[in-house]
């Protein structure tokens, strides 16, 4: 499916050719797997969800009556008596970005039909995600212990707590769903569902293919990318 050569179509140069190619019969994105196209469009839609959240956050932060708390103080971690700002977040971010790396490698080995490597790397990604969720749970409980709630916040504007829990919670849900799927797909890779022409899916007639790992990867990279924005908006602003 990856052969981009299109027979029988003489494309005119320039914009016309591009338009003809885009509008040509059967597929708009030549050779792109249905599932992959679907994931891209879903992610576009999801981008709008997160954009709405973040724009609301900007608006909400701009119009509160009480001052916004200082992120470097709120998110500091005390290590051996010294308060290190943003330490936990730095580690969380590092873990998540690393898991994007392992995911990318998994995709590569998948296409090389290297079942073992692919499976282990998907599993490693899942564990990375799990670590992230774990650390996030730790951070939440720390903030809650300090008195931060969705409806109030001892450090300043109540909206800080509201937006923080809502947006990181929504992102954390995305990560958790990703982790569940990563485990399922790790199992599927090891079980050989993508070998020898592929095994049919559980509910569908579609045959398994390593492209599914790539599709899952798209989702995973997206979740990481969103985290970078959340990181910038909540911790650095």
């Amino acid at each position: 499916m990856s052969d981009p050569k299109i027979e029988g179509l003489q494309l005119k140069p320039g914009f016309r050719g591009m338009a003809d190619d885009t509008g040509s019969d059967q597929t708009m994105f030549k050779g792109v797997h249905w599932g992959k196209a679907m994931m891209w469009i879903f992610l576009l839609s999801d981008t709008f969800v997160f954009s709405c959240f973040l724009i609301s956050y900007m608006k909400g932060r701009g119009s509160t009556l009480v001052d916004w708390p200082y992120p470097s103080e709120v998110f500091a971690l005390h290590v051996g008596g010294v308060s290190v700002p943003l330490l936990l977040i730095a580690i969380m971010t590092f873990v998540l970005i690393t898991s994007s790396g392992t995911m990318a490698l998994a995709v590569k080995y998948g296409y090389e039909k290297n079942r073992k490597m692919c499976g282990w790397l998907v599993l490693a990604t899942a564990l990375g995600g799990l670590t992230f969720v774990g650390m996030q749970a730790f951070e939440w409980s720390k903030l809650i212990e300090e008195g931060v709630r969705p409806w109030e916040n001892p450090f300043g504007a109540a909206q800080f707590g509201s937006f923080f829990f809502m947006i990181t919670g929504f992102h954390g849900t995305h990560v958790s769903i990703g982790v569940i799927f990563l485990f399922i797909y790790a199992y599927k890779v090891f079980a050989g569902h993508y070998e020898n022409g592929g095994k049919r899916g559980w509910f569908t007639t579609m045959k398994g293919d390593y492209v599914e790992i790539e599709i899952l990867g798209l989702y995973w990279h997206f979740v990481d990318l969103v985290w970078v924005f959340i990181f910038a908006f909540f911790y650095l602003w």
Binding site: S24, D25, S45, G60, S162
Partner: protein
């Protein structure tokens, strides 16, 4: 079909196959590029449950969507009767309190816009028609599609459940503006609003699943020869509407989540400092106008989500029944896409007097009036399609004509409301009610009815009765027009919308007679819909058999292997497309239509324009 496409060959083999038609003229001229995608394998249900309940056939899902949406529509209709009873004859319905009235307004508005029209056009017509019209065997992800319907079903169930919870359904108006929406003082501010928000979220999730299907099916699963510019306008309308929905519903979802948190956790996203009944509430610092921006960022595209499929469908109906190609097809496509894109930049025209920064008014008035241009082009093209056509004045065509009249009328009043300073005296009055009922209530309804009469022979294999159909049309069209045309003038007088009791000021008492008249008309229009139900029942029993392609149309949905189409749609071989679906009355052709699958070599003596 003069085509050598072989489903049994593997994909690789297909792409190296050389094409040729059986027609003698010239094998070259019938050339269609080889297949790019393998044929889809389908999951065929065998038990009753997998065939009719948890079914994966888009056509059955379409019908399921259709019936569920119509059910909600009937609920919405009954609510409108109750409201009109109160407005025309205050106190006539003894149980009607202001609380009830506002709950009915809210549920009626939300049901009609989201659960009735959106679900009907995209879920109903989208599912049934997209695979058929683009020449696919089914949607690309039949299983997800099935879940999509059941999500919608649960969303409807949750919505209907809110009628029965303590406090009743929410009475916040379909716009759900905070802070009142979640405060006592508004009916249903407890369980009612929560169920509404949950139901909307479920709807969005369900719709996303369906929407992905529609988009990928149109983008990646068309049959051979079906280029984008050969797709029927119905598909273009549904496609663009789905894109809008995928990008607009997120704003609804986010505002629903934030409002839910405001309600149950006591956050203050939308809640400023409030004193109610002398007590300061535990809220503060939030922005009610932020909600309005989010809501209308969804809400305005939403009206086009309803309108664009209607535009597309009506174009096809007019073309087929005028026996003439749609005039300016390319312009029509670009108008649909352009209107869709622009619709994301006009949302604040609903907020001219909301207290937002007044300088936004200039920008949004300009963008809003720009949309009028492509919209007007579409109208011109519809009537120019009629020009020198050979118009069958059957029921389907009547609905289309009714659509043109109501749509143009409602479009013109839209120019009043879009033009900031003209909106100031008119906003939040009955002028608005009349405007949007005309343009997005009645006009799309006309298209739905036309579409029902047009495609019923495909879905059931039988013609609906023409005579009953015409009665149905005239009652509905004349009735609805006499409801909403005079209603604009109530708005001029200054009668505000969402008023449980009409005003007793001297200048408004003059409207009593008009209100009684409008209510009578509303009862008649509602009752007239039972003609359709009777017609359907009668037709299913003793209707005239339709057979293959009864309207002599060109598009693929009429060229299926069986009528009604079976699962898989096209029998063993997928059709191959050689032209656009509008080759009607081509000079030199034997018949007045040339189907999309007719290869050029069979019609060499005609003067078709290359498409």
């Amino acid at each position: 079909m003069s085509d050598e496409y072989d489903n049994n060959k593997t994909y690789q083999a297909q792409s190296s196959e050389t094409m040729g038609g059986s027609a003698p003229a010239s094998p070259d001229m019938d050339y269609v590029r080889p297949a790019e995608i393998p044929d889809q394998e389908l999951y065929h249900g065998h038990s009753f449950i997998t065939k009719w309940v948890f079914c994966q056939d888009a056509k059955v899902i379409g019908v399921q969507y259709f019936l569920t949406a119509v059910f909600t529509g009937v609920v919405g209709l009954i609510l409108s009767w109750l409201m009109r009873l109160q407005l025309g004859f205050p106190g006539a319905a003894g149980f009607m309190t202001a609380e009830h009235y506002y709950q009915f307004v809210t549920m009626h508005g939300m049901i009609m816009v989201v659960y009735f029209l959106t679900a009907l056009f995209l879920g109903g017509f989208g599912n049934y028609l997209i695979p058929l019209m683009v020449g696919a065997r089914d949607m690309v992800f039949p299983y997800v599609n099935m879940i999509s319907f059941w999500m919608f079903f649960i969303a409807v169930a949750v919505l209907m459940a809110s009628f029965f919870v303590p406090g009743g359904p929410t009475g916040a108006g379909w716009t759900l503006y905070p802070p009142q929406t979640i405060l006592p003082g508004t009916p249903g501010a407890g369980m009612g609003i929560l169920l509404m928000l949950v139901s909307l979220s479920l709807f969005v999730i369900g719709f996303t699943m369906g929407g992905l299907n529609y988009l990928i099916t149109i983008l990646q699963a068309r049959t051979r020869g079906m280029t984008l510019m050969r797709m029927p306008l119905t598909v273009w309308g549904i496609f663009t509407a789905t894109v809008l929905a995928m990008l607009a519903f997120p704003a609804l979802l986010v505002s629903a989540i934030m409002m839910t948190l405001d309600k149950i956790l006591g956050t203050s996203f939308f809640m400023p400092t409030i004193i109610q009944a002398g007590e300061v509430l535990d809220y503060g610092g939030g922005s009610p106008i932020l909600f309005q921006h989010l809501f209308w960022f969804f809400g305005h595209p939403e009206v086009y989500i309803v309108a664009l499929p209607a535009f597309g469908i009506v174009s096809d109906l007019i073309s087929v029944h005028s026996r003439k190609n749609i005039f300016g097809y390319r312009m029509m496509v670009w108008a649909i896409v352009g209107i869709g894109a622009l619709s994301f930049f006009v949302w604040a025209h609903h907020m001219y007097v909301s207290g937002m920064n007044p300088w936004f008014g200039f920008f949004f008035a300009t963008t809003t009036l720009i949309i009028a241009v492509p919209t007007a082009m579409k109208v011109y093209n519809w009537i120019l399609t009629l020009w020198r056509g050979n118009i069958r004045l059957n029921t389907v065509m009547l609905w289309c004509l009714g659509f043109i009249v109501t749509f143009v009328n409602g479009g013109i009043t839209g120019i009043f409301l879009g033009n900031v300073s003209v909106d100031v005296p008119l906003s939040d009055t009955y002028f608005v009610i009349a405007h949007f009922h005309m343009v997005m209530g009645i006009a799309p309804l006309m298209v739905i009815m036309g579409a029902v009469y047009h495609w019923f022979p495909l879905v059931s294999g039988k013609f609906l009765d023409e005579k009953l159909g015409k009665w149905h049309f005239w009652f509905t069209f004349l009735g609805a027009y006499s409801i909403y045309f005079p209603m604009h003038y109530l708005g001029f007088i200054g009668v505000p919308r969402r008023y449980f009791e009409m005003y007793d000021s001297p200048y408004m008492t003059s409207a009593v007679g008009m209100n009684e008249f409008i209510s009578m008309a509303a009862f008649i229009v509602g009752a007239a819909q039972f003609i359709l139900i009777y017609n359907i029942i009668k037709t299913l029993k003793v209707g005239k058999k339709a057979g293959h392609n009864p309207w002599k149309a060109n598009s693929l949905e009429w060229l299926t292997s069986t009528v009604p189409p079976e699962h898989g749609n096209f029998g063993e071989r997928l059709p191959v497309v050689h032209r656009w679906p509008y080759d009607f009355s081509v000079p030199g052709a034997k018949e007045d239509y040339i189907t999309q699958t007719t290869p050029p070599s069979e019609v060499v003596h005609t003067e078709v324009e290359k498409t």
